[in-house]
Symmetry: C2
Subunit: 113 residues, 2 copies
């Protein structure tokens, strides 16, 4: 098998830097495709494709506005990502000396299972 689809979840969708850039831009409000493409220095089809991925994982919503289609942020899908990564917070806040001690501590008290 190959790598999981970019559309399989938010983790995969935001692995692409350009898609992260798009999401960041959309915090300022809704925008049409061409706007995003120009601002981020990518082609219009390129932007459309990235937006399709973001839409499929639910990180972005579209709304027709005349000739244009306005893309807007829907950040709710990022919450699980934030929570998962947040589960490691104590580990990057600890110094490595303390981390080693902590690890040894765990080894000794691993009886609990």
């Amino acid at each position: 098998m190959a790598r999981a689809a970019t559309t399989s979840d938010a983790f995969n969708a935001i692995a692409e830097p350009q898609r992260r850039d798009i999401l960041a831009l959309l915090r300022a409000g809704e925008r049409p495709v061409t706007d995003l493409a120009q601002e981020l220095g990518m082609s219009q089809p390129g932007a459309s494709k990235h937006l399709r991925v973001l839409r499929e994982v639910g990180l972005v919503r579209v709304r027709g506005a005349g000739k244009q289609r306005l893309y807007g942020l829907d950040a709710r899908g990022l919450r699980p990502v934030h929570e998962w990564v947040g589960g490691f917070e104590r580990f990057w806040n600890e110094s490595f000396d303390r981390l080693d001690t902590y690890v040894q501590d765990l080894k000794q008290t691993r009886q609990e299972g």
Copy 2:
């Protein structure tokens, strides 16, 4: 071009669910490959490959212990991820006037695939 390498950064490395599982397990302390493989129901070569990716992005470090190699967590690389995602926190916590407006809009306009 193809998708960015899984080893290009933490974002890509943690896009794979099994690698996230490995990292989660390692919070309890260092572990040898076979241990991880068995606990997560994957093959030994499979675990080794995932650990290689994690090591290349610096999320994991190894230390030889006799015949074994103990893998340990180095979560510092997750901090940038946490911070990036955290930049959207107010958007999923917000009461979301804009989103609500948008939803009402949808009811009036036509659907979108």
